[in-house]
C-alpha cells in the first residue's frame, strides 16, 4: 500500500521544521515506523544533568541543554489518522502515566484522539506529560502511589532513573 499523502507530508515536515527537543525519524524499511527521541522538559525531573560543555551537540539540541533523552517507538497503523498512532517508551522512565512496558496513558492517544492531531502534536503532548505527571489518572499504579505519598522522593527517583537510563548514546 502506498504511503498516504498525509504520512508523507507529516514526515517531511518533521524533518524540515523539527520541534525543539523532539525528533522522529522513520525507518528506511518501514516508513510507518518511527524512532522517536524526546528531551525531558526543562524544570522537570526528566530534564537530566547539565551537558558536558566539551561535547558538541547537534543543532536541534541547542535549546535543550540537558541530557535527559527518552527513546520511544511510534507506529502508524493502516487506519491512521482515523486511529491514533501506537507509541511507547523504549527508555525506562519513572512516571505515573507510563507503565513498565513503556505504554503511555494519555487522553489524546485514547478517546480524545482526533484525526486532526498529528505525530508532532502527539509527541508534544507526551513531552508535556513528562512536565506534568498526573498521578490521579495512573497507569503505573505503584509509581503513582509513590508519587502521591512522597512526591519529592518520587521526583528524586525519576531524576535518578533519568540520569541512569535517559542518556543519549555516545556518537
Amino acid at each position: 500500500m502506498a504511503l498516504p499523502k498525509r504520512i508523507v507530508k507529516e514526515t517531511e515536515r518533521l524533518m524540515s521544521e523539527p520541534v525543539p527537543g523532539i525528533s522522529a525519524v522513520p525507518h528506511e524499511d518501514n516508513l510507518r515506523y518511527f524512532d522517536v527521541e524526546i528531551h525531558g522538559p526543562s524544570g522537570s525531573p526528566y530534564e537530566g544533568e547539565p551537558p558536558d560543555n566539551l561535547r558538541l551537540r547537534a543543532a536541534n539540541y541547542m535549546h535543550t541543554p540537558f541530557r535527559g533523552v527518552f527513546k520511544l517507538e511510534l507506529f502508524l497503523t493502516d487506519d491512521y489518522p482515523m486511529v491514533p498512532p501506537k507509541i511507547r517508551f523504549l527508555t525506562k522512565i519513572y512516571h505515573p502515566n507510563v507503565d513498565k512496558l513503556g505504554r503511555i496513558c494519555l487522553d489524546v492517544l485514547k478517546n480524545n484522539w482526533s484525526p486532526a492531531l498529528q505525530i508532532r502534536t502527539i509527541l508534544l503532548s507526551i513531552q508535556a506529560l513528562l512536565g506534568a505527571p498526573n498521578p490521579d489518572d495512573p497507569l503505573a499504579a505503584d509509581v503513582a502511589k509513590d508519587w502521591k505519598e512522597d512526591e519529592n522522593r518520587a521526583i528524586a527517583t525519576a531524576k535518578e532513573w533519568t540520569s541512569k537510563y535517559a542518556v543519549p548514546e555516545s556518537k
Binding site: 498525509r6 487506519d79 489518522p81 482515523m82 480524545n112 482526533s114 484525526p115 486532526a116
Partner: protein
C-alpha cells in the same frame, strides 16, 4: 463432291446428334414438306423417299442452314488432310464412304474412321450412291446396324411418338402419307409460332452457333436388375436402351411418383430395370427432357434370372431443349413454394429436376470450371439442403397452411423470420463488401460545389456518377450470376473418344439452385441507377451525396421533353393507380430522420456556392400545399434542387393516398417522379413489413440511393428491404431473396448465403470504414485521438441499500425461475428487474416513488428553516451574520467568522485529515471546521462504527450528519462576474444528487476550470435520469441543453443550432436513443456516458456523434460505472459478447438462449 452439289444441305454433328424437333422449325424443311404435300397427294411411295433415320441428320443440319451459312464452314474434307490426321493411307472406298457420310466435315470423318462406324456404313451402303438418292433398306441386318448407329435418335423419337418409331423399325420404308404430311406441316407451323414466342430467348441461342440436339456430358456406372430370365439376353458390350414409360398418373393418395426406368435390348425387349436410387433421378431427367441416356452392358450373367443384378454403363446426353425451357419461368415458380400451401406439380418437377441434375453431375464427376468459391465445395451440401428443404417444406406446409391462403405474398408472421446475424458473420460480410479498391478513379465535383472532397470521396463520386449514368465500371468487369456455375463440355467420352465440339460453345451453365441450364453466360444484370453508400459514420456520406447532387444534374428540360418514356417506365409499377404523376427532373428528394432535417438543410447550403442550390424542408407546417406544380417541369426555373423530408411525412402521405384509394388529387411526394431520391439512415426501412418501408418503395425517382452506416443491423432481411427500395432485379422479389439467401442461411449454409449476398452487394454498395487505410498507410479520415476512460463511481450508503434491495429481489426471481426451469418464460420480468437495478445505479430516485422522496425532503427543509439554517447559504451573508454578532458574543463568533474567512483563503486549505491541499470537496461542520468531504464522512463513520459520538476533529463538538455543508466555489464559472470568487455552502446530502451525478458534476467542474468554453455531451438511456441531472447542472451554474425523443422536430433543430452556436461552456444532454444516430456534434470535445448499454456498439455509435469527421480536437470520453454493481458486470458481458461473436460466429438458438441466461447469471452473481 462438295456439299453444295448435294440436294441436301451439309450435315454436321451427325453422329451423335439429331434433331427431331428442330427440323420442323426450319423453313426449308417446311418448304420441302409442303412441296411434298402438294406433289404427293397419293399414298404411293414418293420418289424421294426418306428413310427415316439417315435422313434425320440431314434435316438436322438443314435446320441450321441459315446459321451455318453465316458461320465459318467446317474444315472441308480433304484427302491429304484426312490422311495426315489418320497417319496412314486409307482405301479409296473407305474414303468414299467417309466422304459421303461426313458430308465434308473432316472432323467427323476422322471420328468415324477411328471408331469404326465407317465399316458398318460400308456394309449398309456397299455401292457409292449420291447422297440424295435414298438407299433402299430391306436388309434386316443393315437396319439393325443403322439402329445401333442412331439409337439415341430413336430414343428421342420415342418421345415424339411411338407410332412413328414403330413404323421406322419395320423393314418397310417409311412413307409419309398425305395426311401425315399435312400434319407435319401443321406441326411445323405451330412450332414456328411457339418459337417466335420464345424468340427473346432463342434469338440469343440461335445467333451464335448451331446447337446439336443433345450433347454428351459424361458417363457413369449403374446397377440394374433383371425382370426376365433367359440365356444370353445380354452380354458385355451390348448396347441397351434406357426407356421410360410413364405407366399412369400417380395414384391419388400416393406421394411417390413412379420412377421406374427400364432398359431394353437393342430390339426393345425389356430386360430389366435400373436400381431404384439411380432410377429416382434418371427418371426425372428423362421425364423432364433434360437428358437422355445410352447404356452399355458391363456385366450380366450368361444365364440371367429375374432379380439378378446387371451392371451397366450409362452415357448421359443433355438435350438441347433443356437449355431453352427452363429459363422461362423457373426462378419465379420455384420460389413460390414457400408460401403456397402445397407444392404444385410443376414446382415439384422443378425441384426434382434440380436435385437430379446435381446428382447426375456428381455421378459423372463433372465439376464446374467456374463457380462461386464456396459452391465448388458445397456440392454435397446442396443436395443435403435440397433434401432438408423438402422435409422442411413438408413440415412447414402444415403450420403455414392455416395462416396463409395460397398465393398471398408475405406471410403475416414474418416478424420473427430471418435469423439474427452473429457479429462474426456480419464482420465477414462487411469484410467482403469492403474490398474497396483505392485505385478507383476519382471524379471532380461541379464548380457549384463549395467544399473540398477527400480523395476517397471523389472516388465514390465517380462511382456514383457511373452508377447513375449506367456506365459500366471496367474495373469491376462482368461478373457471373452468383447462382450459376460454368461447366465445360467434355472433350472425350467415356471410351476416350473425342466428342463433338461446337464452336464457340465450350461451356454450358447450370444453376444448381434451381436446375436451370443455359448456354449463355449468365451475366449478373443490374439495372439500378443508384445504389447504397454504406460508408461508416463520419466519412461524410451527406457531403458525398451533395457533391453528387451538384455534379450530376439532369438536363432537366431536355430529359423531360425528349424522354417522356423514361418516366413512364419508372412508373410502370404505379401506372394502374397513378394517372397524374409528374416528372420533377430537377429535384432530389432526401428522406431523413426528423432530427436530421435541419442538419441536412444547413449542410446542403454550406456545401453549395451561394445561390446554386435551392433546398427546402418539406415537413410539418412548412409543407408546401402543391408540391407537384412547384417541382414540375413547367416550373423548372424555380423548382427546388433538394427537398428534405422525414420518413414520417412519407408515411403519412402514403397512408392518405391509400385511404383515398387513388391519387388523382394528390399533389404531394407521390405525385412526382423525382430525379433522385435519397434515403438517409436507410436502415430505417430495414423492416420490409413496416408501413414506412412500403411507403418508401413506392416513391418514384430515376435514381435511388440509400445512405446507411449499417446496411445490415442484425438480419440479412434488413438488406433485402434496401434492395427492394432500390428495385434491383431480381433480388427485390422477396421469394427469390428468401430462397437464395435466407433459406440457405437458416439451414446453416452461412457461407453460401453470405457469398450470394456479397455478389448482390458488390455492384451496389460502396463502403469504406474509418479504420481503412490508403495504400500509403494513412487513415481515410485522420481523426484526432480519442480516449475512453471508465470512471468508477462509489455508491453512497443509501444508494447501496436501495440497490441491494432490488438486487436481492431480482436474484430471487431469477433463481426461483432457474429452479422451476422457467427462465426463458420469465425473461421479460427478469429483464425488467435488471433494468430497475441499472436505474438504481444511476439514481435511486429512478426506482423510488418520487412523491415520498419529495415529502421527506420537504420535511427536512422545514426543520432546517426552523433552526435558522437554510440549505444553501451564501457565505458572504453568513460572514455578515457572524460579524454582525461579533459584538454581542465576541468569543464564540470571532472564531466562526475567522473560519469562514479562512474558507475563502486558499492558503489554509489543507485538509487536516488527509493533508490534501486544497481539500477535495471542502466540507465544513456545524462548528465551521473544514475537511475533505470524504475524510469528514469517513471519520464520522469511523466513530459511529465504534458507537462513539462523532465529534469535531478540531473542537470536539459533537457532529451531526445533517449539519455538514459543502463549500461550493464558483471560481470555475467564468460567468460569475464578481472579482472575488463566489462561495456558497450547500448542505450535504440534501441537494446532492446521486453519486453518479455528483461524479459528473465534479468532472464538469474540473473541465470548466481548465477549459472555460468547452462543450460537452452527456448521454443517458433514461430520460428521467436526464431530468435528475438537470437540477444539478443548474446548481453548478452550468448552461445545458436537452435533446430527447419526445421533442418535436423544430425544437430539436433549435437545440442543435443553439448548441452549435453557443460560445460558452455548454452541456448537451441527449438520450442515447434519440441521439445515437446521425447527429453531428463535433463541436463538443467531451463525452460523458452516464450508463452502459448491453452492447458497446451502441455506445460507440453515440460517441461517434462527437468523434467523427469534422472533429478537430482530442475527444475524451468518460463512462460512469457504479462500482461493484450490475453495471460493472455489464461491461464484462460487453467484452464477452465481442469475444463470442468473433470467435464462434455461429450459434444455435439453444446456445444463444444459454448465453443469455449466462448473461443474467453473470449480472446477478
Amino acid at each position: 463432291m462438295s456439299w453444295q452439289d448435294s440436294e441436301e444441305p451439309p450435315t454436321k454433328k451427325r453422329r451423335f446428334f439429331s434433331d427431331p424437333v428442330e427440323d420442323l422449325v426450319y423453313p426449308g424443311t417446311t418448304n420441302n414438306a409442303a412441296a411434298a404435300a402438294t406433289s404427293q397427294t397419293s399414298a404411293a411411295p414418293p420418289p424421294q423417299q426418306q428413310p427415316p433415320l439417315p435422313a434425320r441428320p440431314a434435316q438436322d443440319a438443314s435446320s441450321n442452314g441459315p446459321n451455318a451459312a453465316r458461320e465459318d464452314p467446317p474444315i472441308a474434307f480433304d484427302l491429304a488432310t484426312f490422311e495426315s490426321f489418320i497417319g496412314n493411307k486409307v482405301e479409296p472406298e473407305v474414303i468414299d464412304v467417309l466422304r459421303r457420310s461426313c458430308r465434308g466435315d473432316i472432323q467427323k470423318a476422322v471420328n468415324m474412321y477411328f471408331d469404326g462406324t465407317y465399316k458398318k456404313l460400308m456394309k449398309a451402303s456397299p455401292a457409292p450412291k449420291p447422297a440424295t438418292q435414298q438407299t433402299s433398306q430391306t436388309d434386316e441386318e443393315a437396319e439393325a446396324q443403322k439402329r445401333l448407329l442412331y439409337r439415341h435418335q430413336l430414343d428421342l423419337l420415342e418421345e415424339q411418338g411411338r407410332a412413328r418409331l414403330k413404323s421406322a423399325t419395320q423393314p418397310t420404308h417409311y412413307t409419309l402419307t398425305a395426311e401425315e404430311e399435312q400434319k407435319e406441316a401443321q406441326r411445323v407451323a405451330e412450332n414456328r409460332r411457339a418459337l417466335d414466342l420464345m424468340q427473346p430467348y432463342l434469338s440469343r441461342v440461335a445467333k451464335r452457333e448451331s446447337i446439336p440436339e443433345s450433347r454428351y456430358i459424361g458417363a457413369f456406372g449403374a446397377e440394374g436388375w433383371a425382370t426376365r430370365s433367359g440365356t444370353n439376353l445380354l452380354k458385355f458390350g451390348d448396347p441397351v436402351r434406357i426407356t421410360r414409360e410413364k405407366m399412369q398418373q400417380p395414384r391419388p393418395g400416393r406421394d411417390r411418383n413412379d420412377v421406374i426406368v427400364r432398359f431394353t435390348d437393342a430390339k426393345g425387349m425389356e430386360i430389366g430395370r435400373l436400381a431404384k436410387e439411380t432410377a429416382n433421378w434418371v427418371s426425372s431427367l428423362i421425364d423432364q427432357g433434360v437428358c437422355k441416356f445410352e447404356g452399355t452392358c458391363f456385366y450380366a450373367p450368361d444365364r440371367l434370372r429375374t432379380n439378378e443384378t446387371v451392371y451397366l454403363q450409362l452415357k448421359a446426353y443433355i438435350i438441347k431443349s433443356a437449355f431453352e425451357n427452363g429459363n422461362v419461368d423457373l426462378a419465379a415458380n420455384r420460389t413460390t413454394t414457400f408460401f403456397e400451401s402445397k407444392e404444385t406439380t410443376q414446382e415439384r418437377d422443378l425441384r426434382l429436376r434440380q436435385i437430379s441434375l446435381v446428382k447426375l453431375f456428381k455421378e459423372i464427376n463433372l465439376a464446374p470450371t467456374r463457380a462461386n468459391e464456396v459452391a465448388k465445395n458445397g456440392r454435397q451440401g446442396l443436395l443435403d439442403a435440397a433434401e432438408a428443404d423438402e422435409k422442411k417444406e413438408k413440415a412447414n406446409t402444415n403450420t403455414k397452411n392455416g395462416n396463409n391462403p395460397p398465393g398471398s405474398s408475405p406471410p403475416s408472421s414474418d416478424a420473427e423470420e430471418g435469423e439474427e446475424l452473429e457479429q462474426g458473420q456480419l464482420d465477414a460480410l462487411y469484410r467482403k463488401a469492403q474490398s474497396f479498391d483505392f485505385n478507383t478513379p476519382e471524379a471532380e465535383p461541379a464548380d457549384t460545389f463549395a467544399m473540398d472532397l477527400r480523395p476517397y470521396q471523389k472516388q465514390s463520386l465517380h462511382w456514383m456518377l457511373s452508377k447513375e449514368k449506367d456506365q459500366k465500371n471496367e474495373d469491376r468487369g462482368v461478373s457471373m450470376h452468383p447462382l450459376w456455375e460454368e461447366y465445360s463440355w467434355p472433350t472425350k467420352d467415356c471410351d476416350d473418344k473425342d466428342t463433338v465440339q461446337v464452336e464457340g460453345q465450350p461451356c454450358f451453365y447450370v444453376n444448381p439452385y434451381s436446375g436451370e441450364m443455359s448456354l449463355q453466360f449468365p451475366e449478373q444484370e443490374q439495372h439500378c441507377l443508384g445504389g447504397i453508400l454504406a460508408d461508416e459514420m463520419g466519412l461524410g456520406k451527406t457531403i458525398q451525396m451533395l457533391s453528387l447532387i451538384h455534379t450530376h444534374k439532369s438536363e432537366a428540360a431536355n430529359i423531360a421533353a425528349a424522354n417522356p418514356i423514361d418516366s413512364v417506365n419508372q412508373l410502370s409499377r404505379l401506372s394502374n393507380k397513378s394517372s397524374n404523376v409528374v416528372a420533377a427532373p430537377k429535384t432530389t428528394l432526401v428522406i431523413a430522420p426528423m432530427s436530421l432535417l435541419a442538419q441536412w438543410q444547413s449542410e446542403a447550403e454550406a456545401a453549395s456556392k451561394e445561390g446554386t442550390l435551392k433546398s427546402m424542408v418539406y415537413y410539418g407546417d412548412e409543407k408546401v400545399a402543391d408540391l407537384q406544380s412547384m417541382c414540375a417541369v413547367s416550373n423548372i426555373a424555380s423548382a427546388p434542387d433538394v427537398i428534405i423530408t422525414s420518413y414520417g411525412v412519407v408515411l403519412s402521405e402514403f397512408t392518405q393516398i391509400n385511404k383515398k384509394g387513388f391519387r388523382s388529387f394528390h399533389t404531394g411526394l407521390f405525385s412526382l417522379n423525382f430525379f433522385r431520391v435519397i434515403l438517409d439512415e436507410g436502415h430505417n426501412i430495414k423492416n420490409r413489413q413496416s408501413k414506412t418501408s412500403k411507403a418508401c418503395y413506392e416513391l418514384n425517382a430515376e435514381h435511388r440511393w440509400v445512405l446507411t452506416g449499417t446496411p445490415i443491423v442484425n438480419r440479412l432481411e434488413d438488406l433485402f428491404s434496401l434492395i427492394r427500395f432500390l428495385r434491383v432485379e431480381p433480388w427485390n422479389n422477396f421469394s427469390f431473396w428468401r430462397t437464395f439467401i435466407t433459406v440457405p442461411f437458416e439451414s446453416k449454409d452461412f457461407m453460401r448465403a453470405l457469398d450470394v449476398v456479397q455478389t448482390v452487394l458488390e455492384p451496389l454498395v460502396m463502403r469504406r470504414t474509418k479504420d481503412m487505410k490508403t495504400p500509403d498507410g494513412k487513415l481515410l479520415v485522420p481523426l484526432p485521438p480519442k480516449t475512453i476512460e471508465i470512471v468508477d463511481v462509489e455508491l453512497s450508503e443509501t444508494e447501496r441499500s436501495v440497490y441491494e434491495h432490488i438486487f436481492t429481489r431480482a436474484k430471487r426471481t431469477f433463481s426461483n425461475n432457474i429452479e422451476k426451469g422457467t427462465v426463458m418464460k420469465a425473461y421479460t420480468t427478469i429483464f425488467a428487474q435488471i433494468l430497475r437495478l441499472r436505474q438504481s445505479c444511476c439514481h435511486p430516485l429512478l426506482v423510488r416513488n418520487q412523491d415520498i422522496v419529495a415529502d421527506e425532503e420537504e420535511a427536512g427543509a422545514q426543520a432546517d428553516a426552523a433552526a435558522g439554517l437554510s440549505d444553501d447559504m451564501d457565505l458572504q451573508s453568513l460572514i455578515k451574520q457572524f460579524t454582525a454578532n461579533t459584538d454581542v458574543e465576541k468569543n464564540a463568533n470571532t472564531f466562526g467568522a475567522h473560519v469562514l474567512q479562512q474558507i475563502r483563503d486558499e492558503a489554509s486549505n489543507e485538509c487536516p485529515v488527509c493533508s490534501e491541499e486544497p481539500m477535495i470537496e471542502q466540507t465544513v461542520t456545524g462548528c465551521w471546521h473544514s475537511a475533505c468531504k470524504k475524510c469528514l464522512l469517513d471519520y464520522i463513520k469511523h466513530s459511529m462504527d465504534r458507537h462513539q459520538t462523532p465529534r469535531c476533529f478540531n473542537c470536539r463538538e459533537p457532529l451531526s450528519l445533517r449539519d455538514l455543508f459543502e463549500v461550493v466555489r464558483h471560481d470555475d464559472d467564468p460567468n460569475a462576474g464578481s472579482s472575488t470568487p463566489k462561495i456558497s455552502l450547500q448542505r450535504l446530502g440534501v441537494n446532492e444528487s446521486s453519486s453518479k451525478v455528483v461524479a459528473l458534476i465534479k468532472h464538469l467542474r474540473a473541465l470548466r476550470k481548465e477549459h472555460p468554453v468547452m462543450k460537452s455531451v452527456v448521454f443517458s438511456q433514461f430520460t428521467s435520469f436526464m431530468s435528475l441531472i438537470e437540477p444539478a447542472l443548474t446548481r453548478a451554474n452550468m448552461r445545458f441543453l436537452r435533446l430527447d425523443g419526445t421533442m418535436a422536430q423544430k425544437a430539436r433543430a433549435a437545440v442543435l443550432e443553439e448548441f452549435r452556436a453557443s460560445n460558452r461552456f455548454t452541456i448537451l444532454l441527449i438520450s442515447l436513443r434519440a441521439g445515437g444516430v446521425g447527429l453531428n456534434l463535433t463541436q463538443a470535445k467531451r463525452v460523458y456516458m452516464m450508463d452502459p448499454w448491453w452492447s458497446f456498439a451502441v455506445e460507440a455509435q453515440a460517441i461517434d456523434r462527437v468523434h467523427r469527421m469534422g472533429q478537430d480536437d482530442e475527444v475524451k470520453v468518460y463512462r460512469f460505472i457504479a462500482k461493484d454493481s450490475v453495471e460493472e458486470r455489464m461491461l464484462k458481458v460487453q467484452d464477452r459478447k465481442k469475444f463470442i461473436a468473433t470467435s464462434l460466429g455461429m450459434m444455435t438458438d439453444e446456445e444463444k438462449k444459454l448465453a443469455r441466461i449466462e448473461d443474467i447469471k453473470e449480472l446477478l452473481s
